[in-house]
Subunit: 162 residues, 2 copies
Protein backbone atom coordinates (compact mmCIF):
# COMPACT_ATOMS: atom_id res chain seq x y z
CA UNK A 1 0.00 0.00 0.00
CA UNK A 2 1.69 3.13 -1.23
CA UNK A 3 -1.10 5.50 -0.42
CA UNK A 4 -2.75 6.67 2.75
CA UNK A 5 -2.63 5.25 6.24
CA UNK A 6 -5.06 5.05 9.11
CA UNK A 7 -4.19 8.39 10.51
CA UNK A 8 -7.29 9.99 11.93
CA UNK A 9 -6.36 11.11 15.41
CA UNK A 10 -8.17 8.88 17.89
CA UNK A 11 -9.78 10.32 20.97
CA UNK A 12 -7.24 8.51 23.10
CA UNK A 13 -4.11 8.97 21.05
CA UNK A 14 -1.04 10.34 22.75
CA UNK A 15 -1.05 13.88 21.54
CA UNK A 16 2.17 14.66 23.32
CA UNK A 17 3.83 12.48 20.73
CA UNK A 18 2.24 14.49 17.90
CA UNK A 19 3.50 17.74 19.37
CA UNK A 20 6.93 16.44 20.10
CA UNK A 21 7.46 15.01 16.65
CA UNK A 22 6.04 18.13 15.01
CA UNK A 23 8.64 20.21 16.80
CA UNK A 24 11.38 17.81 15.91
CA UNK A 25 10.44 18.03 12.25
CA UNK A 26 10.18 21.82 12.44
CA UNK A 27 13.57 22.16 14.05
CA UNK A 28 15.24 19.79 11.63
CA UNK A 29 13.71 21.52 8.67
CA UNK A 30 14.66 25.01 9.82
CA UNK A 31 18.19 23.93 10.61
CA UNK A 32 18.46 22.35 7.18
CA UNK A 33 17.15 25.43 5.40
CA UNK A 34 18.78 28.07 7.53
CA UNK A 35 15.35 29.36 8.50
CA UNK A 36 14.87 30.78 11.95
CA UNK A 37 12.35 29.21 14.27
CA UNK A 38 12.08 32.29 16.48
CA UNK A 39 10.21 32.28 19.79
CA UNK A 40 7.22 33.91 18.11
CA UNK A 41 7.11 31.27 15.39
CA UNK A 42 7.64 28.50 17.84
CA UNK A 43 4.81 29.82 19.96
CA UNK A 44 2.38 30.00 17.02
CA UNK A 45 3.32 26.50 15.93
CA UNK A 46 2.72 25.33 19.47
CA UNK A 47 -0.72 26.98 19.53
CA UNK A 48 -1.65 25.40 16.21
CA UNK A 49 -0.56 22.04 17.52
CA UNK A 50 -2.69 22.25 20.64
CA UNK A 51 -5.11 20.00 18.78
CA UNK A 52 -5.90 18.45 15.42
CA UNK A 53 -8.72 20.92 14.80
CA UNK A 54 -7.86 23.87 12.57
CA UNK A 55 -7.63 27.28 14.21
CA UNK A 56 -8.54 30.59 12.63
CA UNK A 57 -5.94 33.34 12.58
CA UNK A 58 -7.87 35.31 15.15
CA UNK A 59 -8.17 32.27 17.39
CA UNK A 60 -4.40 31.97 17.28
CA UNK A 61 -4.14 35.67 18.02
CA UNK A 62 -6.43 35.37 21.02
CA UNK A 63 -4.32 32.59 22.47
CA UNK A 64 -1.13 34.56 21.82
CA UNK A 65 -2.59 37.46 23.73
CA UNK A 66 -4.12 35.44 26.55
CA UNK A 67 -1.61 36.76 29.10
CA UNK A 68 -2.06 40.41 28.23
CA UNK A 69 0.27 40.66 25.27
CA UNK A 70 -0.76 43.01 22.49
CA UNK A 71 0.04 41.29 19.24
CA UNK A 72 -1.86 42.59 16.23
CA UNK A 73 -3.25 40.73 13.20
CA UNK A 74 -0.27 41.36 10.91
CA UNK A 75 1.96 39.61 13.40
CA UNK A 76 -0.05 36.43 13.37
CA UNK A 77 -0.57 36.46 9.61
CA UNK A 78 3.12 36.98 9.00
CA UNK A 79 3.98 34.16 11.29
CA UNK A 80 1.41 31.86 9.71
CA UNK A 81 2.85 32.76 6.31
CA UNK A 82 6.27 31.71 7.45
CA UNK A 83 4.97 28.38 8.72
CA UNK A 84 2.97 27.85 5.52
CA UNK A 85 5.92 28.68 3.32
CA UNK A 86 7.98 26.03 5.01
CA UNK A 87 5.18 23.48 4.96
CA UNK A 88 4.96 23.30 8.75
CA UNK A 89 1.24 24.04 8.70
CA UNK A 90 -1.53 23.83 6.13
CA UNK A 91 -4.30 26.24 5.42
CA UNK A 92 -7.75 24.67 5.23
CA UNK A 93 -9.38 26.77 2.55
CA UNK A 94 -12.92 25.71 3.29
CA UNK A 95 -12.54 26.88 6.89
CA UNK A 96 -10.19 29.84 6.66
CA UNK A 97 -8.17 28.06 9.27
CA UNK A 98 -4.80 26.47 9.88
CA UNK A 99 -3.68 23.08 11.05
CA UNK A 100 -0.32 21.52 11.75
CA UNK A 101 1.28 19.52 8.98
CA UNK A 102 1.51 15.94 10.08
CA UNK A 103 4.04 14.85 7.50
CA UNK A 104 7.61 15.52 6.59
CA UNK A 105 7.36 19.03 5.33
CA UNK A 106 8.70 18.51 1.83
CA UNK A 107 6.27 19.73 -0.77
CA UNK A 108 3.44 17.28 -0.91
CA UNK A 109 -0.11 17.14 -2.13
CA UNK A 110 -2.32 16.48 0.79
CA UNK A 111 -5.92 15.38 1.12
CA UNK A 112 -7.67 16.46 4.29
CA UNK A 113 -10.50 14.67 6.02
CA UNK A 114 -12.38 17.08 8.24
CA UNK A 115 -14.79 15.75 10.84
CA UNK A 116 -17.80 18.03 11.15
CA UNK A 117 -18.44 16.79 14.70
CA UNK A 118 -15.14 16.82 16.53
CA UNK A 119 -13.48 19.26 14.14
CA UNK A 120 -10.36 17.17 13.82
CA UNK A 121 -8.50 16.97 10.56
CA UNK A 122 -6.53 14.05 9.19
CA UNK A 123 -3.95 14.62 6.50
CA UNK A 124 -3.47 11.83 4.01
CA UNK A 125 -1.57 11.29 0.80
CA UNK A 126 -2.95 9.06 -1.87
CA UNK A 127 -1.22 8.29 -5.11
CA UNK A 128 -4.44 6.87 -6.49
CA UNK A 129 -6.22 10.17 -6.02
CA UNK A 130 -3.34 12.09 -7.50
CA UNK A 131 -3.37 9.84 -10.52
CA UNK A 132 -7.12 10.07 -10.94
CA UNK A 133 -6.89 13.84 -10.82
CA UNK A 134 -4.05 13.93 -13.31
CA UNK A 135 -6.02 11.71 -15.65
CA UNK A 136 -9.05 13.93 -15.37
CA UNK A 137 -6.93 17.03 -15.84
CA UNK A 138 -5.33 15.61 -18.96
CA UNK A 139 -8.73 14.91 -20.46
CA UNK A 140 -9.80 18.45 -19.63
CA UNK A 141 -6.60 19.92 -21.06
CA UNK A 142 -5.45 21.23 -17.73
CA UNK A 143 -2.07 21.45 -16.01
CA UNK A 144 -2.37 20.76 -12.29
CA UNK A 145 -0.42 23.03 -9.99
CA UNK A 146 -2.07 23.42 -6.59
CA UNK A 147 -4.80 20.98 -5.63
CA UNK A 148 -7.11 21.81 -2.75
CA UNK A 149 -8.74 18.65 -1.49
CA UNK A 150 -10.75 18.97 1.69
CA UNK A 151 -13.29 16.32 2.47
CA UNK A 152 -15.91 17.09 5.09
CA UNK A 153 -17.62 14.23 6.81
CA UNK A 154 -17.45 12.23 10.00
CA UNK A 155 -14.65 10.38 11.65
CA UNK A 156 -15.04 6.84 12.92
CA UNK A 157 -15.32 7.79 16.56
CA UNK A 158 -17.91 10.46 15.90
CA UNK A 159 -20.25 8.28 13.91
CA UNK A 160 -19.79 5.42 16.35
CA UNK A 161 -21.22 7.89 18.91
CA UNK A 162 -24.25 8.34 16.62
Amino acid sequence: MTSSDKNFPGRDHDHGVCIESAFERAEALCRERGAKLTPLRRRVLEIIWESHAPLGAYDVLQRMNAEGERNAPPTVYRTLDFLLKHGLIHRIESMNAFVGCAMSADAHRALFFICRDCGNVAETHSEAIGEAIEASATRAGFLVETPVMEISGRCQECYDDE
Copy 2:
Protein backbone atom coordinates in the same frame (compact mmCIF):
# COMPACT_ATOMS: atom_id res chain seq x y z
CA MET B 1 -15.79 6.87 -20.59
CA THR B 2 -18.07 7.44 -17.64
CA SER B 3 -16.07 10.20 -16.09
CA SER B 4 -15.08 13.68 -17.11
CA ASP B 5 -15.26 15.35 -20.48
CA LYS B 6 -13.24 17.97 -22.24
CA ASN B 7 -15.12 20.83 -20.77
CA PHE B 8 -12.75 23.70 -20.19
CA PRO B 9 -14.38 26.71 -21.77
CA GLY B 10 -12.41 27.62 -24.87
CA ARG B 11 -11.64 31.22 -25.68
CA ASP B 12 -13.88 30.98 -28.70
CA HIS B 13 -16.75 28.92 -27.36
CA ASP B 14 -20.27 30.22 -27.81
CA HIS B 15 -21.00 31.53 -24.39
CA GLY B 16 -24.51 32.47 -25.35
CA VAL B 17 -25.22 28.75 -25.42
CA CYS B 18 -23.84 28.36 -21.89
CA ILE B 19 -26.08 31.11 -20.58
CA GLU B 20 -29.12 29.93 -22.41
CA SER B 21 -28.81 26.36 -21.25
CA ALA B 22 -28.05 27.48 -17.69
CA PHE B 23 -31.32 29.38 -17.62
CA GLU B 24 -33.21 26.50 -19.11
CA ARG B 25 -31.88 24.21 -16.40
CA ALA B 26 -32.66 26.75 -13.71
CA GLU B 27 -36.20 27.24 -14.89
CA ALA B 28 -36.87 23.54 -15.24
CA LEU B 29 -35.47 22.84 -11.82
CA CYS B 30 -37.42 25.60 -10.09
CA ARG B 31 -40.63 24.55 -11.80
CA GLU B 32 -40.01 20.99 -10.73
CA ARG B 33 -39.35 21.94 -7.13
CA GLY B 34 -41.87 24.73 -6.79
CA ALA B 35 -39.04 27.17 -6.09
CA LYS B 36 -39.42 30.71 -7.29
CA LEU B 37 -36.88 32.11 -9.69
CA THR B 38 -37.69 35.72 -8.84
CA PRO B 39 -36.33 38.67 -10.83
CA LEU B 40 -33.69 39.21 -8.16
CA ARG B 41 -32.54 35.59 -8.30
CA ARG B 42 -32.65 35.56 -12.05
CA ARG B 43 -30.55 38.70 -12.15
CA VAL B 44 -27.90 37.30 -9.83
CA LEU B 45 -27.76 34.06 -11.79
CA GLU B 46 -27.34 36.12 -14.94
CA ILE B 47 -24.48 38.10 -13.39
CA ILE B 48 -22.76 34.92 -12.24
CA TRP B 49 -23.09 33.51 -15.73
CA GLU B 50 -21.49 36.50 -17.40
CA SER B 51 -18.36 34.39 -17.56
CA HIS B 52 -16.77 31.17 -16.39
CA ALA B 53 -14.64 32.99 -13.85
CA PRO B 54 -15.92 32.95 -10.28
CA LEU B 55 -17.23 36.22 -8.88
CA GLY B 56 -17.01 37.36 -5.28
CA ALA B 57 -20.21 38.32 -3.50
CA TYR B 58 -19.21 41.96 -3.53
CA ASP B 59 -18.45 41.81 -7.24
CA VAL B 60 -21.95 40.53 -7.78
CA LEU B 61 -23.27 43.30 -5.57
CA GLN B 62 -21.39 45.93 -7.52
CA ARG B 63 -22.89 44.70 -10.77
CA MET B 64 -26.35 44.60 -9.23
CA ASN B 65 -25.96 48.19 -8.17
CA ALA B 66 -24.34 49.43 -11.36
CA GLU B 67 -27.42 51.45 -12.36
CA GLY B 68 -27.81 53.21 -9.04
CA GLU B 69 -29.72 50.56 -7.13
CA ARG B 70 -28.97 50.23 -3.44
CA ASN B 71 -28.88 46.54 -2.66
CA ALA B 72 -27.01 45.64 0.51
CA PRO B 73 -24.79 42.64 1.29
CA PRO B 74 -27.50 40.50 2.92
CA THR B 75 -29.52 40.67 -0.26
CA VAL B 76 -26.76 39.23 -2.37
CA TYR B 77 -25.75 36.62 0.19
CA ARG B 78 -29.35 35.49 0.59
CA THR B 79 -29.75 35.22 -3.13
CA LEU B 80 -26.50 33.33 -3.52
CA ASP B 81 -27.65 30.98 -0.76
CA PHE B 82 -30.82 30.24 -2.66
CA LEU B 83 -28.88 29.47 -5.82
CA LEU B 84 -26.41 27.33 -3.88
CA LYS B 85 -29.16 25.43 -2.11
CA HIS B 86 -30.66 24.48 -5.45
CA GLY B 87 -27.33 23.60 -6.99
CA LEU B 88 -27.55 26.35 -9.60
CA ILE B 89 -24.19 27.78 -8.59
CA HIS B 90 -21.15 26.50 -6.75
CA ARG B 91 -19.03 28.20 -4.17
CA ILE B 92 -15.29 28.00 -4.82
CA GLU B 93 -13.96 27.78 -1.30
CA SER B 94 -10.39 28.61 -2.17
CA MET B 95 -11.49 31.88 -3.76
CA ASN B 96 -14.48 32.96 -1.67
CA ALA B 97 -16.29 33.21 -4.96
CA PHE B 98 -19.17 31.79 -6.91
CA VAL B 99 -19.51 30.22 -10.31
CA GLY B 100 -22.42 28.87 -12.32
CA CYS B 101 -23.09 25.16 -12.15
CA ALA B 102 -22.50 23.70 -15.57
CA MET B 103 -24.30 20.43 -14.93
CA SER B 104 -27.77 19.23 -14.19
CA ALA B 105 -28.31 20.59 -10.73
CA ASP B 106 -28.99 17.33 -8.94
CA ALA B 107 -26.65 16.85 -6.05
CA HIS B 108 -23.31 15.92 -7.45
CA ARG B 109 -19.74 15.86 -6.38
CA ALA B 110 -17.78 18.17 -8.54
CA LEU B 111 -14.10 18.70 -9.17
CA PHE B 112 -13.11 22.17 -10.27
CA PHE B 113 -10.16 23.10 -12.41
CA ILE B 114 -9.29 26.74 -11.89
CA CYS B 115 -6.96 28.46 -14.34
CA ARG B 116 -4.72 30.92 -12.53
CA ASP B 117 -4.21 32.92 -15.74
CA CYS B 118 -7.62 33.41 -17.31
CA GLY B 119 -9.54 32.73 -14.11
CA ASN B 120 -11.94 30.35 -15.78
CA VAL B 121 -13.26 27.34 -13.96
CA ALA B 122 -14.20 23.99 -15.43
CA GLU B 123 -16.47 21.67 -13.54
CA THR B 124 -15.90 17.96 -13.99
CA HIS B 125 -17.20 14.76 -12.50
CA SER B 126 -14.99 11.75 -12.25
CA GLU B 127 -16.05 8.44 -10.86
CA ALA B 128 -12.43 7.39 -10.61
CA ILE B 129 -11.66 10.28 -8.28
CA GLY B 130 -14.75 9.62 -6.23
CA GLU B 131 -13.74 6.00 -5.85
CA ALA B 132 -10.18 6.86 -4.95
CA ILE B 133 -11.42 9.23 -2.28
CA GLU B 134 -13.84 6.69 -0.89
CA ALA B 135 -11.08 4.12 -0.75
CA SER B 136 -8.80 6.52 1.07
CA ALA B 137 -11.60 7.55 3.41
CA THR B 138 -12.39 3.94 4.25
CA ARG B 139 -8.78 3.30 5.13
CA ALA B 140 -8.76 6.39 7.32
CA GLY B 141 -12.06 5.40 8.98
CA PHE B 142 -13.92 8.36 7.58
CA LEU B 143 -17.39 8.86 6.19
CA VAL B 144 -17.37 11.26 3.24
CA GLU B 145 -20.10 13.86 3.12
CA THR B 146 -18.99 17.03 1.35
CA PRO B 147 -15.84 16.92 -0.72
CA VAL B 148 -14.19 20.18 -1.73
CA MET B 149 -11.89 19.61 -4.67
CA GLU B 150 -10.50 22.68 -6.33
CA ILE B 151 -7.46 22.26 -8.52
CA SER B 152 -5.50 25.37 -9.40
CA GLY B 153 -3.34 25.32 -12.47
CA ARG B 154 -3.37 26.37 -16.07
CA CYS B 155 -5.80 25.69 -18.84
CA GLN B 156 -4.67 24.52 -22.26
CA GLU B 157 -5.11 27.87 -23.94
CA CYS B 158 -3.22 29.72 -21.25
CA TYR B 159 -0.17 27.53 -21.28
CA ASP B 160 -0.17 27.41 -25.05
CA ASP B 161 0.23 31.19 -24.78
CA GLU B 162 3.28 30.58 -22.52
